[in-house]
Amino acid sequence: MSVLHTTNKSPLRTRDLESCLRLSRAGCGILLLEDAVYGALKATSAGAKIEEAAKDRRIYVLGPDLAARGFTPEQLVAGVAVVDYGGFVDLAAEYHHVQAWL
Amino acid sequence: MTAAVAVKDKEVPVDEEGYLVNLADWNEDVANAMAADDSIVLTDNHWEVINFLREYYAEYQVAPAIRVLTKAIGKKLGPEKGNSKYLYELFPYGPAKQACRYAGLPKPTGCI
């Protein structure tokens, strides 16, 4: 498997997610954690980009971060998977390496 | 904690490992006094290395790692000087650390 990208900033505040999407490639995984989980919400402007990216990349959202911020998986755009920390670990092991977009 | 090196009639502050607190305090007398405290008399061979370090630092804002120093000295002063045996003979406490100290550069953080 290729790269697991991680991004942790709200895309409403920084352009980290945008760069991650620009430089990541089909077949990779992208895990949204911490404030980045806001980016996968249907209601936000980043949601459409995530939905688009989910066509050829696997998008994951860290569930505990989503819940901490008062949202539920039903509020996420289509095509994203919710994982817990154990799932994060599994992904990190599954992909060839992990690349953080700090 | 600070100490000092006696240079002629004045005291120059150094840290607990003997590096200059204020790099601007450096001059040749300071280097000679530091060496004298280690019972070393600086020769032309020492000065070649010290001056090289000062020039390198002025150019790149970093003291070269030991293998970079060795290679660069070899390139500039010839292979008989660009080896760690030669440099350790001049600076028995370790060429990077000791020579940088005499050269008035920051303490190298490059120890692995």
Binding site: E34, H97, A100 | T109
Partner: protein, 119 residues
């Protein structure tokens, strides 16, 4: 699998150290090994034993110390980053030790995965 973890932010100001800790706990629960946790940038502040959050908040430093004790994890505080921020031996909580940046590169070489947490 052997994981290396790099923590680039201090406790409390950012979530990075919390996320790294949760990741480490989950990895251990999955039967993986933590090869090393390396603390860099403001991450060196995680090692400060004088950390004293209110009683109803988590004590991040103590969490790391406890995890390290339970699972024998090597927790390295970068000497250069630590010196800059006044994090020295006498301030270290149990389980942390100070060493050079080479330990970070070594973790990259020896661990199967290096996971970076920061801001």
């Amino acid at each position: 699998m052997k994981f290396g973890i790099l923590v680039n932010e201090g406790p409390y100001q950012h979530q990075a150290s919390d996320s790294a800790y949760q990741f480490a706990v989950a990895a251990l629960a999955r039967g993986h090994q933590i090869y090393r946790v390396f603390f860099y940038n403001d991450g060196v502040n995680n090692a400060n034993k004088l950390t004293e959050p209110p009683q109803d908040d988590r004590n991040i430093t103590r969490q790391w110390s406890a995890l390290a004790a339970e699972h024998d994890i090597d927790m390295v505080v970068c000497v250069a980053a630590g010196m800059r921020r006044g994090i020295k031996d006498e301030l270290l909580a149990p389980g942390f030790h100070i060493s050079g940046l080479g330990q970070l590169i070594q973790a990259g070489i020896e661990a199967d995965r290096l996971v970076v947490f920061g801001d």
